[in-house]
C-alpha cells in the first residue's frame, strides 16, 4: 500500500505555499519531512488532513485517487494526525479521552463503563503503555503520556485500522526520556505495518528514526533520499539554498563602540543565563530551534516575564525591576511575535494602536489626549514604515498582515527608542512587505539604534545580523560574528549543543 502525492499546489493570496509537490509515502517505515519555516510542511499536512483543499493535484492510494474533502475522509482513508498541541479534555479520564471520537459502548442507552475501560486498556497495551491507568484523569498525565494516549486512541476504530500516522513536531514539548518512550511506540507502529510521516526540525531524531527523508523548500519538493544515501550536511544543503542578499541592503554606517545595552546572567523561569552586549547601530540576531527561547529572551528584556537573576544595563543605567512601562520609558521598544494576540488591539484604529505606549509624553498636561499630535505621529511614522492604509482612523482588523506588522513597527519607532526588540518581524507577511521591513531594519541600524532580531528565518538572520546569538533549550549556546557564515553553518549551530559558549 502506498500513498502518492501528485502535483499538489496551494496558494494563499499572493503566497504560493505549495507548488507542484509530488512524492510517495510507504507503510511500515518512518519517512521524515523536513524544511525551514515557510517551506510548506504545515500546508501539506493540512491538505492531507482534509482541512484545506489543494488548488491542483491529487492524492492516490494504491494508484486510486482518494477524496480528501474533510477530516472524516482522511480518517476513512486510514490517516491519523498527531499534533504538537493536543486537544484533550483534562477533566475526563484517559479512557474517556480515548473515546472522544468514537461512540461510547452502550447497552440500552447506558454507558458500559467496564467495556469502555477494557477497550482503552487493550489499545494502550498494544503499544506497551501498561504504565498508564485508563481511569486516571487526563490532567494528571505528563505531556508525553498525553500524546501516547492520543496515539493509542487511534487504534480504537470501527473501520479499517489506520496505516499512516502524520506526526507534526511530536517531541517539541517532550523531555529526552519521554521522547524515548514515543520512539518505542513509533517502533511498535511500524512493526505492525503502519507508516509514519515524521515532521521535525531535530536532525538527530530524524537520522535515528527515518528510513527516508523528504525535504521541502519554498513550497517545492527538493529531494526524497534514503537515509543511508545522505548525510546531515546534505539534508541541510537541501533545506537551505536560498539567497536573500539581494533583498537586504548592506550596512553603510559603522557600528558604535561604547555598549548601548549590557546583559549579564539574565535568567527567567524558562531562559538563561544569557550574556551579551549590544552596541549602537548593531543588529544582533537571535537564532535557535522552535522552543529554544528566542521569544523568551525578548520578553525578558521588555519586562513581560519576571527576571530571576542577572542585570540589564541601558547606557550605564541599571534597570532594576524591569516591567514593560519601565522598559519602554528607558528607550526599549518591542514588536511581539503574535500580531493578533500580543500586538494589536484589532478592533481599534491605527492611531490608537500606534500611540498607545506614547500617550503620556503626547498628552496635554500629561493627562488630556492630544489627538492632533497623535495624528502627526502616525503620519510621520506611518510614512517611515511605508504603511498603506486608508486613514489613521482605519480599524486594524481590515489591514493586511504586512500592514498590521508595519503598524507595530510604527508604534515601536514612535518613541525614538534606543533599542528595538523584534520577534519574527516578517512572519506571515507577503514578499513586498518583507522587503520593506528588511530595508527599514537596516536603516534603523544605520541611525545608531540597537536592534535585537529573533527569527526562525535563517536567511533573514544572515542577511541582517552583525552577530548572532544561538539559543538551545533556553540556554546561550553560541554567540558568533556573522562573517562568512552560511545558512548551513547556522543551521548546524542550531542543531549542536555541545560547543556551548
Amino acid at each position: 500500500m502506498t500513498l502518492s502525492l501528485q502535483s499538489l499546489s496551494r496558494r494563499y493570496g499572493a503566497v504560493l505555499a505549495l507548488s507542484e509537490v509530488s512524492f510517495d509515502i510507504r507503510p511500515g517505515e518512518v519517512q521524515a519531512l523536513m524544511g525551514e519555516n515557510g517551506a510548506g510542511k504545515s500546508t501539506l499536512i493540512r491538505l492531507l488532513a482534509g482541512l484545506e483543499r489543494p488548488d491542483t493535484g491529487q492524492v492516490l492510494r494504491n494508484g486510486k485517487p482518494i477524496a480528501l474533502g474533510g477530516p472524516a475522509d482522511a480518517e476513512a482513508a486510514g490517516l491519523r494526525f498527531i499534533h504538537q498541541e493536543l486537544h484533550v479534555v483534562p477533566a475526563l479520564s484517559v479512557a474517556e479521552n480515548m473515546h472522544l471520537h468514537h461512540p461510547y459502548p452502550t447497552r440500552a442507552g447506558l454507558v458500559r463503563w467496564g467495556k469502555l475501560r477494557d477497550t482503552a486498556k487493550r489499545a494502550l497495551a498494544r503499544l506497551g503503555l501498561t504504565h498508564i491507568d485508563p481511569d486516571a484523569p487526563m490532567a494528571r498525565l505528563s505531556a508525553s503520556d498525553r500524546m501516547l494516549v492520543r496515539i493509542a486512541a487511534t487504534l480504537i476504530t470501527d473501520g479499517p485500522s489506520p496505516w499512516l500516522y502524520v506526526m507534526d513536531e511530536p517531541t517539541a514539548a517532550l523531555t529526552g526520556a519521554e521522547a524515548e518512550r514515543l520512539f518505542d511506540v513509533i517502533g511498535e507502529l511500524t512493526a505492525s505495518g503502519a507508516g509514519v510521516l515524521y515532521v521535525s526540525h531535530r536532525m538527530a531524531e530524524v537520522l535515528r528514526l527515518a528510513r527516508t527523508v523528504t525535504v521541502l523548500r519554498d513550497g517545492r519538493h527538493v529531494s526524497t533520499r534514503a537515509i543511508g544515501d545522505t548525510t546531515e550536511s546534505q539534508i541541510i544543503a537541501d533545506m537551505t539554498g536560498r539567497d536573500l542578499s539581494a533583498d537586504v541592503p548592506d550596512r553603510t554606517v559603522p557600528i558604535g563602540t561604547s555598549p548601548l545595552l549590557q546583559v549579564a546572567g539574565l535568567t527567567t523561569a524558562t531562559l538563561g543565563p544569557v550574556r551579551f552586549e549590544l552596541r549602537p547601530g548593531e543588529i544582533l540576531g537571535v537564532a535557535g530551534l522552535a522552543g529554544s527561547g528566542r521569544g523568551a529572551l525578548l520578553r525578558a528584556l521588555i519586562g513581560a516575564s519576571p527576571r530571576r537573576d542577572g542585570t540589564v544595563t541601558m547606557g550605564g543605567t541599571s534597570l532594576t525591576r524591569t516591567t514593560p512601562p519601565e522598559a519602554w520609558s528607558a528607550g526599549i521598544a518591542y514588536v511581539p511575535r503574535e500580531r493578533r494576540s500580543e500586538g494589536l488591539m484589532m478592533h481599534r484604529s491605527i492611531q490608537e494602536n500606534v500611540a498607545l505606549p506614547h500617550l503620556g509624553p503626547l498628552a496635554r498636561a500629561r493627562v488630556f489626549l492630544n489627538r492632533k499630535a497623535e495624528a502627526r505621529m502616525v503620519a510621520k511614522r506611518g510614512a517611515e514604515v511605508r504603511l498603506k492604509s486608508a486613514a489613521p482612523s482605519q480599524s486594524c482588523d481590515h489591514l493586511s498582515g504586512g500592514n498590521q506588522q508595519k503598524v507595530l513597527f510604527a508604534r515601536a519607532l514612535a518613541g525614538s527608542p534606543k533599542v528595538l526588540l523584534l520577534d519574527e518581524p516578517t512572519r506571515g507577511v507577503d514578499v513586498g512587505a518583507k522587503h520593506d521591513i528588511y530595508r527599514l531594519i537596516r536603516s534603523l541600524g544605520d541611525t545608531g539604534m540597537g536592534v535585537i532580531l529573533a527569527s526562525s528565518d535563517l536567511p533573514e538572520l544572515l542577511g541582517l545580523s552583525d552577530r548572532i546569538l544561538v539559543l538551545h533549550d533556553g540556554q546561550q549556546a553560541h554567540l558568533v560574528d556573522n562573517t562568512g557564515l552560511t545558512e548551513a553553518d547556522l543551521l548546524t549551530l542550531c542543531y549542536t549543543k555541545e560547543a556551548a559558549a
Binding site: 511581539p336 494576540s341 488591539m345 500611540a355 498628552a363 488630556f368 489626549l369
Partner: protein, 323 residues
C-alpha cells in the same frame, strides 16, 4: 441603506420608542415637565451605569455596585443618627465606596480573581455590611437631616412652565456632572485610552507598556465611588436609608450599558451611549406607566426590548464581519 440601518438600527429603534410614546400620549409625554421628571427618575441609574461603563470598557464587570449603593446610604444615615454633620457623613460614605472599590480592584487585578466571581462575593459582603451597620432597619424620619433630604427636591429654577414654577432637579445635575466627568476621563484622557486598550487586548496593552494592574485597580475604585454617590442620591430622594434599597441598580445598570453598546461602532461601551440606554429604560418606565400598562407586563416588555436590541445588533455585526 441596509448598512446604514445595521449601523444605526439601534438608534432608530430607540427613537421609535420615543416617537411611539409621543403619539400614544400626545398631551403629556413630550412636555418639558415630563422630561424633567424622567431626568430625575433616571439620575441614580445614570450614575451607576456611567461608572459601570468604566469597568466594562476593560471587559470587566462590577456586580457589587448595587449593594455598595445601599451600604453608602445606610452608612451616611447611621452617621447622621450619631450626630455627624451632613458633609462629614457624606464624605465618610463616599470613602466607604472608595475602599470597597479598591478592594474589588485588588481582588480582580492583583489577586487575579475573575471580576464576575470577585464582585459577586463582594456584593454579598457589602450587602451584609449594610445590614450590620443599619441593624437591618430602615433609618428615616427625624434621623435624616432636612438639609440632606431637601437636596433631592431642590434644583435650578427654570421659571414657570404651564403656569407653575419648574426646576432642573439637583439629582439630574449630579447625574449630568458624573456622566460628564466619566466622558472626559474615558474619551479625553490617556488614562481612559489605556482602559480601552486593556479592553481591546489586555496582553498587547501590557506588552506596550500599559500598567494594566494599576489601571484596573483604579478603575474599580472609580466605580466604587460612583456607586456610593448613587446610593446617597437614592437616600436623599427617599429621605431614608435601608440596607437593600440600591440593590436593584446593578442589573439595570448593566442592561443600560449593553443597550448602549448596541449603538456604538464595534460594540464598544461608551458613556454617552450608556446614557442613551439609561434614557431608553427610563422612558419605557415612564411611558408604559402613563399608559397604565401592568407593572409586571412592563418588566417583561423592558426585558424583551433589551433582548431585541442586543440580538439585532449581534445579527447586524455578523452580517458585517461574517464571511
Amino acid at each position: 441603506m441596509s448598512a446604514l440601518f445595521r449601523r444605526f438600527g439601534s438608534l432608530i429603534g430607540m427613537a421609535a420608542i420615543v416617537v411611539f410614546f409621543a403619539l400614544a400620549l400626545p398631551d403629556t409625554f413630550m412636555t418639558a415637565r415630563n422630561w424633567l421628571n424622567i431626568s430625575q427618575q433616571i439620575s441614580m441609574l445614570a450614575v451607576v451605569a456611567a461608572v459601570m461603563t468604566v469597568v466594562m470598557v476593560m471587559g470587566d464587570f462590577d456586580l457589587s455596585v448595587g449593594s455598595m449603593a445601599s451600604l453608602a446610604g445606610v452608612v451616611a444615615a447611621v452617621l447622621f443618627v450619631q450626630g455627624w454633620s451632613v458633609p462629614a457623613a457624606l464624605a465618610a460614605a463616599i470613602g466607604v465606596g472608595l475602599i470597597g472599590g479598591l478592594f474589588n480592584g485588588v481582588l480582580v487585578s492583583v489577586i487575579g480573581i475573575l471580576p464576575f466571581v470577585a464582585t459577586l462575593a463582594t456584593l454579598t459582603v457589602y450587602s451584609g455590611a449594610a445590614f450590620l451597620v443599619s441593624d437591618g432597619k430602615t433609618i428615616f424620619g427625624r434621623d435624616i437631616p432636612a438639609t440632606f433630604s431637601d437636596f433631592a427636591r431642590s434644583g435650578m429654577a427654570l421659571g414657570d412652565i404651564d403656569g407653575r414654577p419648574a426646576i432642573f432637579p439637583a439629582l439630574s445635575l449630579v447625574a449630568l456632572a458624573v456622566t460628564a466627568i466619566v466622558w472626559v476621563v474615558l474619551e479625553q484622557t490617556s488614562y481612559g485610552r489605556r482602559l480601552y486598550a486593556i479592553g481591546g487586548n489586555a496582553e498587547a496593552a501590557r506588552l506596550a507598556g500599559v500598567p494594566v494592574t494599576v489601571l484596573r485597580l483604579s478603575a474599580f475604585a472609580f466605580t466604587g465611588v460612583g456607586a456610593a454617590i448613587a446610593g446617597l442620591m437614592y437616600a436623599s430622594r427617599v429621605a431614608s436609608a435601608n440596607p437593600v434599597q440600591g440593590d436593584g441598580l446593578m442589573l439595570t445598570a448593566i442592561a443600560a450599558v449593553f443597550l448602549g453598546m448596541t449603538l456604538t461602532e464595534n460594540g464598544q461601551p461608551r458613556v454617552l451611549a450608556t446614557l442613551a440606554g439609561v434614557v431608553v429604560l427610563g422612558v419605557l418606565d415612564n411611558g408604559l406607566t402613563q399608559m397604565s400598562v401592568d407593572s409586571y407586563v412592563r418588566e417583561v416588555l423592558v426585558g424583551a426590548i433589551i433582548l431585541i436590541a442586543v440580538s439585532a445588533s449581534a445579527l447586524g455585526r455578523r452580517g458585517l464581519f461574517g464571511r
